[in-house]
Amino acid sequence: MAQMKRYSYDLPLAGLVLLFALSLPLWAGDYMLGVGFTLAMWLAMVQSWSLLSATTGYISLGHAVFCGIGAYAMVLALPVMGIAISLIFGGAMAGLAALLIGLPVMRVRGPYFVILTFGLAELAKAIVMQAETSMGQFSRLIFNAPSLAVLYWVMLALAVIAVAAAWLLSRSRLGAGLVAVRENEEAAEAVGVPVARLKTIALVLSAVIPGMIGGLLTLRSSYFDAAQAFDPVLSFTTVTMAIVGGLRSPRGPFLGAIAFVLLSEVLWLRLPQLYMIALGALLIAFILFAPRGLAGMVSRLFASGDKSGKVAGHGTA
């Protein structure tokens, strides 16, 4: 019941927000649009990450690898396929990579999984750097990138898709299976949940959109260089936002992304190191004192018994 009520309230609101977001390029300046692009990017990124990590409890610290793969695939395909198809190709390649590594990687658990994903991202970076060097490439410039408005709309679409995917997943049998994996993998397996397959599907789902995000970021900076595209800070920031937003709440990714983008807009002014220090302190504070994240705080504010929040506090990866 609580679920129904919440969504009936949330849906019109979401529609309004979406309408507002869609119209942004029509009236906002480039700076606002840039902020919007960044916000949509983080929302899409964190939400995609959540598809895997929040639902299954397998914390990925290497999601930059999918951005990197997507960006690289897009850059390679660009001369042949044109921008739109290259972008999709990048997403597909990221998904394919996830499919290929899925089975072996998703067997590894706990802290081992976390550092494995990080190691994989660094390995992929080293391989792509080596590949670029052996092809005699040093960095790639991209000409004729689409305008910011177009990039923004595409990024917004990715964010919407990611949110919709998370919503659909949360009410599907697949989602229920993944939650079972998170709560108790052995038990899930024992009652016949096809654990290995579900986990691989979750990994692939959470990889495709980051692949396209990587492509879009490359178009935005009109420049590709492996060290940039596979920047591990991307992975870390994603996890940070997810944790600060609230891991187990559907509102978490929104709140996390918004909080960070706002904070950075405010503190960026002349205080970059202080901004980073604040970021670090915030992260620590949330892990230690507010494990349910901003979403938990929000639902406590409206303490009318939000059921979704309750699950969040219990147990983590």
Binding site: G110, G119, A126
Partner: protein
């Protein structure tokens, strides 16, 4: 040539072993993945730099200072935050599960505090740069000092673990924290001392690398990564195997480059890292001992 390579591998290996040792001690006793470990080494490097260029103190003195400073940080972190969280199983579990992200926050703070205080300009100082010839091997003084110190600390820790009651207590906590208390080990004290010790070792490692590397607020991350590769090779929390793995990594890196090409260095190391995690998460050596 072979002897020179051997020396190079030994030097890299000793440094890897030392950096990883501190990380492994902290992971072993507290189950915390300290991704800020390299940043403690960075703090050590700045201690050495300031001591040398402002006060004219040589790195061997700085080692003591850096060890003391980092140990104090470790102890403060433990007494101020971790001890309380370890008191109840729920918070302890949450802390352990999120430790890597938590220490990422610590890492960001340390780097940027140093960048604020010292700017991010590279720093450097010259100490014992003269080259010695030892048989077929050419070695600069600072690398010999690094090798000697790293070996001495690793050996010292191993001896304590083998022969001293504190070492046994420590191993007991690493192996079964819950059972250590009932034989009379003061787990709280062991954990506090160990985190201080692990941090101190990182600080000393930082002093050692500061003699040959450029010093910047961001120099720590590569060290952290190297340390993680090493403790994964050895098996998380397995102190002895971790030290062996440090040398294995040094030799794999040096001779791997010699046999193939330097260009494959990172692919080789990360490839090894990923392979071990996929195939033998308990580490290259030890038996398949269940690590929670």
């Amino acid at each position: 040539m072979a002897a020179q390579l051997f020396f190079a591998a030994l030097c890299s290996g000793a440094l890897y072993a030392l950096v990883a040792l501190g990380l492994n001690l902290v992971y072993g006793t507290l189950r915390l993945l300290n991704i800020a470990h390299g940043d403690l080494a960075m703090i050590g490097a700045y201690v050495a730099f300031v001591a040398f260029s402002t006060f004219g103190l040589a790195p061997p003195v700085s080692m003591v200072l850096a060890a003391g400073l980092c140990a104090a940080m470790g102890w403060a972190l433990y007494a101020g935050i971790f001890r309380r969280l370890f008191a109840t199983p729920e918070t302890a579990q949450r802390l352990e599960a999120n430790s890597l992200i938590l220490f990422y926050g610590v890492s960001v703070i340390l780097q940027n505090v140093m960048a604020l205080g010292f700017t991010s300009t590279a720093r450097g100082y010259s100490y014992m740069g003269e080259v010695w010839r030892i048989g077929p091997v050419m070695a600069s003084g600072n690398r010999l000092l690094m090798l000697g110190t790293a070996l001495a600390i690793c050996l010292g820790v191993l001896l304590v673990l083998r022969f001293h009651a504190f070492g046994w207590s420590l191993r007991a906590v690493i192996e079964r924290r819950e059972a250590a208390g009932i034989v009379g080990v003061n787990v709280d004290r062991v954990q506090g001392i160990t985190i201080a010790l692990g941090f101190a070792i990182a600080g000393v490692a930082g002093v050692l690398v500061s003699m040959t590397e450029q010093i910047t607020p961001f120099m720590g991350f590569p060290l952290t990564i190297a340390a993680f590769v090493v403790i994964v090779l050895g098996g998380l929390g397995n102190i002895f195997a971790g030290i062996v793995a440090g040398f294995v990594l040094g030799f794999v890196e040096t001779f791997g480059i010699a046999l193939t090409s330097a260009t494959y260095r990172s692919i080789l190391i990360y490839g090894l890292f990923v392979t071990v995690l996929l195939l033998r998460p308990q580490g290259l050596f030890g038996k398949a001992i269940q690590v929670r």
